[in-house]
């Protein structure tokens, strides 16, 4: 329990540091009033807006008000839209989560079989072809792959819409574009893990015992080769959830990534602050949950 309390306190401190950074950066970036005014706006209106937005207060006081609001669960209002930031974020989360999960599934369903196949068919044409896919998948920029997919499947074949979120077919191309890199990475990592395991003594022993090839590969080799790929999968999933900005922008997919771009373009700092805090919070909670699960799985850690 002491450990758990310590982790929670550490998490709160981390969050506070992030709030300071986010608040400080947004203040350095300029006065939010400058985004609201037109070129005809007078100095009087400027001052009035400042009073309305609390900018006439000292900076430390503005920060305390900001943190106080955070503790009450208020992320503030969007500078431009005048809507609560929390409401705006909540409205975008489902789309990002959907895309992230779909892309993760795509990456794993494509990457794992290909990785195993490449290792099993080591040195043959299958292997060369899959390795070429893996290299290309990791080397090609995601925006280029996105546009290529659009021009082949939407403009050329007209199978799926170019962009937007208008039906289940809309998610297909963004899923492939976002999952491509993960699939290619998974292939490379799983292939090298499998090769290492397939050359180990216990696998050779299993083969020598006369076990069927399928059993050797999937029961003995694959399970022992999974450590690296699982680590990569975790990183991939986290990256997909928080880093789909390019794909969401190219496909006009209305998720958190596109919201981040829109907020940057509009310098809507409350939304950016909210996004950064959300990502930080998710990571903190994930870490905490992992630590808790870890203690459950391994009693020795609790004792320690």
């Amino acid at each position: 329990m002491r450990f758990l309390v310590g982790r929670i306190i550490a998490g709160i401190v981390t969050l506070l540091v992030v709030t300071m950074l986010v608040f400080g950066l947004s203040r350095i970036s300029g006065d939010p009033r400058s985004l609201l005014i037109s070129e005809d706006t007078t100095i009087d209106v400027w001052d009035e807006l400042g009073r309305e937005m609390g900018l006439d207060q000292p900076v430390y006081r503005q920060y305390l008000i900001y943190v106080g609001n955070l503790f009450r669960g208020e992320l503030g209002d969007s500078t431009l839209q005048r809507k609560p930031v929390a409401e705006i974020l909540w409205s975008r989360i489902p789309n990002t989560v959907r895309l992230a999960f779909a892309s993760f599934l795509f990456a794993m369903l494509l990457g794992i079989p290909l990785g195993v196949l490449s290792a099993v068919k080591h040195g043959r044409w299958w292997d060369r072809g899959i390795r070429a896919f893996a290299v290309l998948g990791q080397a090609l920029p995601v925006f280029w792959i996105s546009l290529l997919l659009i021009y082949v499947f939407s403009v050329g074949l007209r199978w799926v819409p170019v962009s937007g979120n208008a039906g289940w077919t809309s998610i297909i191309l963004p899923t492939i574009a976002l999952g491509w890199f993960g699939a290619a990475g998974q292939v490379r990592i799983l292939r090298s893990s499998m090769l290492e395991v397939l050359n180990s003594e216990y696998v050779r022993f299993a083969r020598a015992k006369g076990l069927p090839s399928r059993t050797v590969i999937w029961k003995h080799a694959f399970r022992n080769a999974l450590i690296g790929p699982i680590t990569f999968a975790a990183v991939t999933l986290a990256g997909m959830v928080t880093g789909s900005i390019v794909v969401e922008t190219v496909f006009a997919w209305p998720g958190l990534g596109l919201l981040a771009i829109q907020a940057v373009n509009n310098s809507d700092y409350p939304i950016l602050q909210g996004l950064i805090l959300l990502v930080t919070l998710v990571y903190l909670i994930v870490n905490l949950m992992v630590d808790i699960l870890y203690m459950i799985v391994d009693p020795r850690i609790r004792i320690q």
């Binding site: 550490a10 300029g30 006065d31 009033r33 400058s34 005014i37 037109s38 070129e39 005809d40 706006t41 007078t42 100095i43 009087d44 400027w46 009035e48 807006l49 309305e52 431009l80 839209q81 005048r82 809507k83 409401e87 705006i88 909540w90 409205s91 975008r92 489902p94 789309n95 959907r98 546009l147 659009i150 403009v155 819409p161 170019v162 962009s163 979120n165 289940w168 022992n224 450590i227 699982i230 680590t231 999968a233 975790a234 999933l237 959830v241 190219v250 006009a252 209305p254 829109q262 940057v264 373009n265 310098s267 909670i285 994930v286 870490n287 949950m289 870890y294 799985v297 391994d298 320690q304």
Partner: protein, 620 residues
């Protein structure tokens, strides 16, 4: 042998003496290698929780929203009052949809005093809100829209406007009357308003009074030749839209801000999902000719390449097209391209010219000197020092002469544009007042001579800030300008950043470098109104506060005849040509790519360079 050590954020189990495969698997489960599995589980758990929490309307997150659904996961804006627009469509009209790709659909802000320029422009151009008068199609003349006539008061300080009778507000908010006019006008110019016209209205102490149900009087305390056009046409940032007083009073200001009912135009808002799409539907109760288009979808697609792909695939019927792609796009069998509207002005601001100690009315400035005032910059010069000022003028003129404008038009804009020599003076006015004496020759040799005369024989170092967000080729044009300036000697660096990212420092008058600023399209606003914004009394200033042009423009306020105005204009633009306070670069056309299999005709008013006037679309 296992050891457990505590690191800053997690546990790491150190294992030793692993030999058998079975033991290794178990170790993997019990060691740090199990952590990724738990990490994935934890992420999945949290995301599932977040997804569940966010779908508060009971709709499954996995069910995709249809383009016309109003219960999209993105909070679609719907009317507070019932807009039964489908029922309002005349039965003679069949459903005819039109889809447009737009880089930004911003957000609704349906209260006059809280309406920023961007959404203010959209609600007008998309045909939902209307102005008293509109620029005609195909000719630079104003036509009545929400008024039936107007006349100027004998003293030249006001106007009587006769409102059109029987105009209904969308959403059942009743008939538009003089009371709505007065409320809209007063709310627009009230204290704290961010509306574009507030500076002009307050400077002239403008007021509006209802004479009877359909007649209003607008008065100023001093004559102003720009006021009528600025407020009552549809071509300026200050254009006054008519709002329903009853709507705002019923809903309250906060709710009315996001409520999308209440316009008077040929289209009603059916949905406004910020950052995603806007849906307009034909308003059957429209006071004018109803639209042939029954539904307009405006899809926000930020990426230009995706916009073009959507056009080619038939997902959208029209989109703006970057100039280099226009000729290729026109070769597609079902697509066509054309220039439309008023071209956007691309110009270079030599910032830091803050030489006014007081406002024009003599009030002291705070702060003074301005933070961006830097007389060491070659184009700024020392205020109050005629020699230094003259040298700075020569530097600005040299920079202007070093820019090959025609080359930018030919090579970057594909011929879709023209060189610009007068600051922010746009067609059709430009063609009316143009004189060859204002042309600036491209002559690098002469420019170098001017620099040598100014004391910079080897050129000078400078930073060109290029802001993005307006024109698809703004970065390329800005870099081209920087390269032309490089030919004068010295090192010219460029820095690219978003317009909004640059804006705060400009508003704070902190900049003293060169700013390449672009516009996607122009408006019919008198250029002198634009120049008036370089005024110490305004919160926004793009880097120059110079008394001479402002003083000339002030003289124009009280002039009422075109001849008098044009004489002053000549004097004003002689001064701009001589001093190059702003360095004009090019006027870039806006190019529309359109599905020619579907659209027969789409005429837009001459008062706006932006896409709109959907009611004028005629299908094949």
């Amino acid at each position: 042998m296992y050891g457990v050590k505590y690191s800053r954020l997690n546990f790491v189990i150190e294992s030793h003496n692993l030999k058998s495969p079975t033991l290794r698997r178990n170790d993997a489960l019990m060691s740090g290698k199990v952590r990724p599995v738990l990490l994935i589980l934890a992420i999945i758990g949290i995301l599932t929780l977040l997804t569940a929490c966010s779908t508060t309307d009971g709709k499954s997150a996995s069910s995709f929203a249809s383009p016309t659904a109003t219960d999209s996961p993105v909070s679609a804006i719907t009317s507070a009052a019932d807009i039964s627009s489908t029922a309002e469509i005349p039965p003679a009209l069949v459903t005819r949809e039109f889809t447009l790709a737009a880089s930004d659909v911003t957000f609704p802000a349906m209260v006059p005093s809280q309406l920023p320029a961007a959404p203010g422009g959209f609600i007008r151009r998309w045909g939902v809100y209307e102005t008293a008068m509109v620029w005609a199609v195909d000719k630079p003349e104003l036509e009545n829209r929400l008024i039936t006539g107007w006349e100027m008061d004998p003293d030249g300080l006001g106007w009587i406007l006769e409102l059109k009778q029987g105009v209904q507000f969308h959403g059942g908010w009743g008939e538009m009357t003089a009371e709505d006019f007065v409320w809209s006008f007063e709310n627009e110019i009230k204290e704290g308003s961010i509306h574009s016209g507030v500076g002009l209205a307050r400077a002239n102490e403008a007021s509006a009074t209802a004479i009877d149900k359909y007649t209003v009087s607008v008065r100023l305390t001093r004559p102003n030749s720009f006021f009528f056009n600025a407020f009552f046409s549809n071509g300026t940032g200050a254009s006054m839209k008519f709002f329903s007083k009853k709507r705002i009073e019923t809903l309250s200001i906060d709710d009315a801000f996001l409520d999308i009912s209440g316009g008077t135009g040929p289209f009603v808002f059916k949905k406004w999902a910020q950052g995603e799409e806007v849906i307009l539907e034909s308003f059957g109760g429209y006071h004018g000719t109803p639209s042939q288009v029954t539904t307009v979808h405006i899809l926000e697609i930020k990426e230009t390449a995706t916009q073009i792909a959507a056009l080619k695939s038939g997902q959208v019927d029209a989109s703006l097209v970057p100039a280099p792609l226009a000729k290729d796009l026109a070769k597609e069998p079902h697509l066509g391209t054309r220039s439309f509207g008023i071209p956007g002005s691309q110009r270079l601001y030599p910032q830091g010219q803050f030489c006014m100690e007081t406002t024009l009315s003599g009030e002291s400035l705070d702060p003074y000197p301005r933070p961006g005032y830097d007389p060491s910059k070659p184009w700024v010069g020392e205020c109050g020092n005629p020699v230094s000022q003259e040298n700075a003028r020569l530097v600005r003129l040299a920079m202007s002469m070093a820019i090959d404008r025609q080359s930018i038009v030919d090579n970057l804009l594909g011929g879709f544009g023209r060189p610009s020599y007068l600051p922010e003076v746009l067609p059709p006015l430009l063609d009316t007042i143009w004189q060859d004496k204002w042309l600036i020759p491209y002559d690098v040799g002469a420019a170098k001579n001017l620099l040598a005369e100014a004391g910079y024989p080897d050129g000078f170092d400078a930073l060109v800030r290029i802001t993005t967000g307006s024109h698809p080729l703004e970065v390329e044009m800005g870099q081209a300008v920087a390269q032309f300036l490089q030919a004068l000697g010295g090192e010219i660096r460029t820095e690219v950043l978003t317009y909004s990212g640059n804006r705060p420092s400009v508003v704070a008058r902190e900049r003293s470098d060169l700013w390449f600023r672009s516009s996607s399209a122009g408006t019919a606003e008198p250029p002198e109104l634009t120049q008036l914004r370089r005024n110490p009394e305004n919160a926004f200033n793009p880097g120059l506060e110079i008394e001479e042009p402002l003083a000339i423009i002030r003289q124009m306020d009280s002039l009422m005849s075109e001849d008098q105005l044009n004489r002053i204009r000549e004097q004003l633009y002689d001064e701009f040509r001589h001093n190059q306070w702003i360095i004009p670069v090019v006027l870039a056309d806006q190019i529309l790519g359109i599905n020619t299999d579907k659209v027969l005709e789409w005429k837009m008013t001459t008062g706006s360079g932006y896409l709109g006037d959907f009611q004028n679309i005629k299908f094949k």
